[in-house]
Symmetry: none
Subunit: 221 residues, 4 copies
DNA sequence: CATGAATGAGAGTTCATTCAT
DNA sequence: GATGAATGAACTCTCATTCAT
């Protein structure tokens, strides 16, 4: 926006800086996943990143900024993942979404990250926090837009019920992330390690519902 | 000695003590909801409870114990709520669960509590933490058992598909709590304030699925 | 001193009060011996004394007062013990003092108390502390006066060297309490459990010295 | 790499660190001597050391560690002092030990430290406390070994009585530290400011005993 | 630009003391 | 007089952040 050239010139310096930022974020991610945001100290992050503690402050304004950076990165990755798993995957909507479930599950612990992310948001008190939250919300929407677009196509094709596709996408994504990822984790009261089983549960519920004689054709919603 | 009835003796002293405990828990709950567990200080809780800081330690061993107490209370209430809304509510399974969704939604912000609860669990590092987590997990199961029993009856009656009713109950509950309660809150990227609309979304999805021509009768799961 | 009647009238009330005081002091002593002054809480003392915490404050102004009371009691007992073991014990000076050493040793752990007493004095900050310390010092002197009187008699009889008997009594008492009692305790680097052996070490050193050809007769001190 | 000499490398950094440690220890020592361990706050130590409170924790793990560090330092110094004053001092055993007494006395208030050290040990409750105590006991032994070696030589030379030299060294050291140092201090019930007088008292008692006709030659101990 | 020692506000927790019952 | 729940000042320790090197 500030510059006119499409990609100005990622000078060596700039690239190195970006590289460093990513390294630090990765170290932070690992720490946060292990012990939670609040229980992680900057010393630990610095040690893991193999940088001095002060150096981190050359790249991030504060510990909170580190978490926010991570959240944004997580969301952006989420969009790419959804696009890969849904748009670029061949097959029916059902097959595409099944693939999406499995993809998210495959990321496993990595996506326990998700819970952490959601959890720790409470902890943040930065100034300008509200704005940041809004923009994070927007990123969530970006993720949901991907399945939502698919659902819209299916509605248009008369294959699924004409409900708000964005809402449905959100609900679906939550089923995957909370129930799906949850059941893979030890502390969750239910443990299902077979990805196929979880995917089947979610997909058949979402597409077909529980009822044996469902009331299709009579929707007025 | 003091009493004849089987129920031991809720002596005045005991009752007052319990009353105090509840007051403190309520103050803690309010604070935690407002600022999160980690950002709440004991001074704040004490001030809100209108007790001295030391007094709190006459009732709870530590700040963590306060959170754990809250979580357990929340879960136990959850069981009662589920029983009221499902078992003791007249009508079909669909009607019972619709009522359940609306009941949880009605508790609104109160149940944002739920998110907090889940979130902050990461923060805890108490000794004997694992045991506590196990017992909290058990309480979750107690909640899910209520809808699970209903689903089992429906399966037996041939009205819904023969899937693991406990898993389905868990997934349903999660849909309600995460999607349902979430959409009521400001920071959630989607905001739906109409409880009927949310309940309808969840219930029709869960019972009937999204597909227009569903594949009933062919389950091999 | 304040009253003219030699012993006014130890009314039942008064006696009970004294009895209570002693019970509390004993509880405090036991606790202090076990954990040290600073590590003992009033709750523990109250529990051990089988009184309410508040009750203790009807008998003693503060926790410090409890320690000071104990010290004074200890000292006063010390005088009686010295008199019993030295004055009222038949035999030569050597035999009397040997008996004194053994008596102190026999009180064993009870007199580890002594160390505690000396130790914790640092901790005290009461107002009027200096005065109290002075009066405790006086009590020490009362103890030392007992062996000092014996030594004076021996000097007069020409049986021991004409040195300041009070100083010598002090040095002797310290040898008994620090070295004698010390060697009986686990944490002390030297452990001698045989009382006769310790007594012999102290007495022969004190009376005869280490040298084989000593320089008697040439004192100019 | 950095150094050629066998002594590792007292790099400037290392030296500064050690210097800081010593400064902090000295501040702590001064505070402890003034008010006792328990009555000294970390704020006071920090203020006296002219460091921030947090800085202290960069050098010592805890307040207890500070005390233990001080104790160990005290003991180690004690060994050096004993060696200087006894081994490296010319003259007879009597002269050497007289010199030792005077040396300890000269350190005066500095060695009131000793009492504090011994006193406050009760207060400690660190984990691994027993081990630390053991090692402190060992350090005491190291001190006593120095005069003990001297006494052994005298025994071998037939100049002093054949008693356990280690026990005698301990008793002697205690006489010096408790009686000798004590009598120099205000709160002690006896005050003798003349070092020569104290040294004479201790030395003649220890070497020659109090008796005028002592029983040399007849030991059966 | 990298560093890590220094910092001190702020946290949870303890406990001697008070006082209403 | 006896009680023990209530109290809050005071404590040790942590850790995000700064800044001289």
């Amino acid at each position: 926006m500030e510059e006119v050239e499409s990609t100005p010139k990622p000078s060596r310096k700039e690239l190195e800086k970006l590289q460093r930022k990513r390294e630090i974020l990765n170290a932070a991610k690992a720490c946060f996943l292990e012990k939670g945001y609040q229980n992680t100290t900057l010393d630990e992050i610095a040690q893991r990143a193999e940088f001095g503690k002060g150096t981190i402050y050359n790249y991030f304004e504060s510990k909170e900024e580190l978490l926010l950076g991570l959240i944004e990165q997580f969301m952006k990755d989420g969009v790419v993942i959804a696009e890969e798993a849904i748009l670029h995957f061949p097959g029916t909507a059902r097959e595409k979404l099944t693939n999406y479930v499995k993809t998210v599950l495959k990321m496993g612990t990595e996506h326990e990250h998700f819970h952490m992310v959601i959890s720790e948001i409470h902890s943040l008190r930065t100034q300008g926090f509200e704005d940041r939250m809004k923009s994070i919300g927007k990123l969530f929407e970006d993720i949901w837009k991907v399945p939502a677009r698919l659902l819209q196509e299916e509605i248009d094709a008369g294959r699924i019920k004409p409900k708000n596709p964005f809402y449905m996408a959100c609900m679906f994504d939550m089923m995957v992330r909370v129930f799906g990822v949850g059941t893979q984790q030890d502390k969750f009261p239910i443990k299902i390690s077979d990805h196929d089983e979880i995917a089947d549960l979610i997909i058949t519920t979402f597409f077909d519902g529980m009822s044996i004689h469902s009331y299709e054709g009579q929707y007025n919603g």
